[in-house]
């Protein structure tokens, strides 16, 4: 990491909704530009609260959150929106316009962009997300996966530096879930920082590079995906179960097989291991 300060800084943040209990306690996290990070934990662990603090929907009770140089306590959500995009779990909570194109224009107009710029970004976004064919359709009638894609497109069009995805694959079938994770990967490769809150550890293991684990409002682990995913005791203490392929891979570690985070990786490593075994 360079000397440049992190893009998102959560500095000694505590938060409570009511006086009688902390939802987050003394959370200190930095996210650098270009990261692809998962935030995991069971319901009530505080991960949704953390997300809302990062977009300014909640303001810290103690401590401060700095987004791209801006303190969230002094900025309005609509001002922060040009820096951080937030995709909510259920596309139905967001889609309201009568066409896909209008849905994408919505955020752009909210930024106060001139009409020519709005149209230019709309066209670019439709092309980037392969939504040109459905541009005049009613978004609510699209498939669940396509709805989620429209939501992401409408936020990415605003050109945020960070994208926060809250349970983007929950309730989705495998095909849609995979499409969304590949979309997130592509956006990350274009330089957008991705923070992903999810229950789906298969996706976490296969796609992210860093994992933050929350339990009862406290960060209990933070490190490279491989390290966190292979800490079975820690995950189980948080009522989380590592992906099946990781468990298999850990079980076979004594044979000299390296840790695999996805089925594809496991296959490659097994083949390599078999080749190495044949010629001693």
């Amino acid at each position: 990491m360079s000397g440049e300060p992190a893009l998102l800084r959560v500095e000694r943040v505590s938060f409570r909704y009511r006086p009688d209990g902390w939802a987050l306690r003394d959370v200190d996290l930095h996210f650098a530009a270009g990261e692809f990070t998962a935030i995991i934990g069971n319901n009530g662990s505080g991960k949704s609260t953390l997300m809302k603090l990062l977009v300014g929907l909640l303001k810290p009770t103690v401590g401060r959150v700095i987004v791209d140089g801006v303190d969230t306590r002094t900025a309005r959500v609509s001002q922060l929106a040009r820096r951080v995009g937030f995709i909510f779990q259920n596309p139905n909570d967001q889609l309201f316009a009568n066409t896909v194109a209008e849905e994408i224009r919505f955020g752009l107009r909210n930024l106060g962009l001139p009409p020519a710029e709005v149209e230019a970004r709309l066209e670019a976004t439709l092309a980037q997300f392969e939504l040109t064919a459905v541009r005049d359709l009613f978004p609510r009638f699209l498939s669940r996966g396509d709805k989620q894609k429209v939501c992401i497109a409408s936020v990415v069009a605003m050109q945020p530096r960070v994208l926060l995805l809250d349970e983007p694959t929950t309730g989705q079938d495998h095909r849609d879930s995979r499409a969304i994770m590949e979309l997130a990967t592509a956006l990350n490769q274009q330089g957008i920082t991705i923070l992903l809150v999810t229950h789906d550890l298969n996706n976490v293991a296969a796609y992210t590079r860093r994992v933050v684990v929350l339990r009862d409002g406290v960060v209990v682990a933070d490190g490279p995906t491989a390290a966190v995913m292979s800490d079975v005791a820690l995950l189980e203490a948080c009522s989380l179960v590592p992906p099946q392929i990781v468990r298999l891979s850990l079980g076979l570690a004594d044979l000299g097989l390296p840790l695999a985070l996805s089925v594809e990786a496991m296959e490659q490593q097994t083949r390599a291991w078999l080749r190495a075994r044949v010629r001693p």
């Binding site: 309005r76 959500v77 937030f86 909510f88 139905n92 967001q94 309201f96």
Partner: protein
């Protein structure tokens, strides 16, 4: 909206609670003096306190209370009359008139009188008892069910309203436009998803009602004998209704007269 802890009011017969709602509604419509309305409101809060749900009632009234008081203040500002306070603003003076404040006070008290008993009743009554009580009032099952389900889903809609609002604010949406229509336009991105989600939910609710056998069920209302608490609330309701009707017949506010004598 029903509370987990329904307290003694949970034991009171739903029919009696509905009568109490009607009696307070009647009195709230008849009386106009702030003193009488205040006493009426006190009696309502007293019932809530005896039922050990005063805290929960006030907590739920808080968000609603802001709205009511705002409406009261608007009255105070727009009704002309003897000026009471003059707030100099750019270009014009904001005048709060005595008559406006008086009218505002009455409207605030009245709205609290109307809302509180309904809230207390819904909070302390099981939905099926409420349905039964509404059916005793000769409401067909479908309508009784509709009213109760609408009330039942209020907290869900409030949470959803909040969530959808957050989702749109995260897309830089802010209701900043001026004027009535501007504000309405600003609410479209929230109300459209809210309505469509409600329709989706109604579809599941319809199936669930069918599965639970509502369509063929002939509800035969079944009530337990009235308990002491029920009789007490019935007496309170009767007193309120009788005094209110007597005041109409006498042509003046009997409560205010009585307080005046004392």
């Amino acid at each position: 909206m029903t509370l987990d802890e329904r307290g003694p009011l949970g034991q009171v017969d739903a029919r009696v609670k509905l009568l109490w709602v009607l009696a307070t509604l009647l009195a709230g419509l008849i009386f106009v003096q702030p003193l009488t309305l205040s006493l009426l409101l006190l009696s309502i809060l007293g019932v809530a306190a005896l039922g050990r749900v005063l805290g929960a009632t006030l907590q739920r009234l808080r968000s609603f209370g802001v709205l009511i008081i705002t409406i009261g203040l608007i009255f105070a500002i727009i009704v002309p009359g003897t000026p009471l306070v003059r707030v100099p603003l750019v270009g014009f003076d904001l005048v709060i008139s005595q008559d406006g404040l008086y009218l505002g006070l009455i409207s605030v008290l009245r709205m609290f009188v109307f809302a509180t008993p309904l809230l207390v009743t819904v909070m302390t009554t099981n939905n099926s008892d409420l349905i039964q009580a509404l059916m005793v009032a000769r409401l067909p099952l479908e309508y009784a069910l509709m009213i109760v389900l609408a009330l039942n889903f209020v907290p869900l809609y409030l949470a959803e309203f909040q969530r959808i609002g957050d989702a749109q604010r995260a897309r830089a949406h802010a209701v900043v436009e001026q004027g009535f229509w501007g504000r309405i336009r600003g609410l479209i991105p929230i109300f459209v998803p809210l309505t469509l989600n409600a329709i989706d939910r109604a579809d599941t609710v319809g199936k669930v009602l069918e599965i639970r056998g509502f369509s063929r069920r002939r509800f035969t209302p079944e009530f337990a004998p009235l308990t002491g608490g029920s009789w007490a609330l019935l007496a309170v309701s009767a007193v309120i209704a009788v005094v209110a009707i007597a005041s109409v017949l006498a042509g003046h506010d009997l409560v205010a007269a009585l307080v005046g004598l004392a």
